[in-house]
Amino acid sequence: MNSSNYLYAAYAATWLIHGFYISVLIRRYFRLRGRISGQTKR
């Protein structure tokens, strides 16, 4: 494997992990907002 491929793999891995975590946070946020609007409706 060409050594530059390792470079791309490392950068891709970094952003994949960060992207995954941010998506987890965003999903939790929207679920929370759903709960809040569920409360105020009642």
Binding site: S4, Y6, T14, R35, I36, Q39, T40
Partner: protein, 246 residues
């Protein structure tokens, strides 16, 4: 406070993009390692940010144990989680860097092993928080954080001595940096620190919001929906305001 966060988030994203551009194209290519060395601009700043976050967790845990401030506990869990994310990146990019340069995926040298142990300790911290049913989970977690902090110097010292007995290639060895490389490195160091702080802040706000919602729901089941003050609380949360402040 509400306006500041999106602005800073956008700024941080721009900084990250700029840091990426600098790391990939502006920084000069290293003589012996080639382009692969550019991983260094992501690997080391991530390690630095991760360690700072773990240190934040330690301080927040101590504050919580002494003063039982719930904000300290929310900060503790946020910094632990984001710290684990950054530490994971260090442990992933490290071997990817080591393989083409030194021919080995892993070596039990001081830095890598200490990072691995730190990662293990904090993953166990997060597992304890998730699995603990006690209402005193924050106290237990804070105690575990202190144990972890006591352990880290011992880990470092024991591996250091082991390595002086069994020397092995040191990954990411020292040596001075070309000033242009230093500039890119410092830029990415600053950028990732900001990114880590922003993620921690976002996670903290999410945690705090979660606790408010849980509390509101608990109050609702206790008092019933006729309570006027409860309605106020719910309206305030929905509007994004802190229900405790007028």
């Amino acid at each position: 406070m509400k306006r500041v966060f999106p602005i800073l988030a956008v700024l941080t994203a721009l900084l990250l993009a700029y840091g990426f551009y600098e790391a990939m194209w502006v920084a000069p290519t290293e003589r012996t390692m080639g382009d692969v060395q550019r991983i260094f601009y992501y690997h080391v700043p991530s390690a630095w940010t991760g360690f700072c976050l773990f240190f934040t967790n330690l301080l927040a845990s101590i504050v919580y144990l002494i003063w039982k401030n719930p904000k300290a506990d929310a900060l503790a869990v946020s910094s632990a989680e984001v710290g684990v994310v950054f530490c994971t990146i260090v442990l992933v990019t490290g071997p990817i860097w080591a393989r083409p340069v030194w021919g080995i995926w892993w070596t039990w040298d001081v830095r890598l092993t200490s990072t691995l142990v730190l990662w293990l300790i904090y993953v166990s911290y997060l597992v304890l928080r998730r699995f603990s049913d006690s209402s005193q989970t924050p106290v237990l977690a804070a105690v575990l954080a202190i144990f972890g902090a006591l352990d880290v110097p011992l880990v470092y010292f024991s591996i250091w001595f082991f390595r002086t007995q069994h020397p092995q290639p040191v990954i990411g060895g020292g040596g001075s940096l070309d000033p242009r490389m230093l500039r890119v490195f410092l830029l990415n160091l600053f950028t990732f620190s900001c990114f880590g702080a922003m993620l921690c802040w976002a996670r903290y706000r999410l945690e705090w919001m979660q606790r408010e919602v849980d509390e509101a729901e608990a109050l609702e089941s206790l008092l019933g929906t006729e309570s006027v003050s409860l309605r106020d609380t719910q309206v305030k949360i929905a509007a994004g305001k802190n229900p405790r402040h007028p």
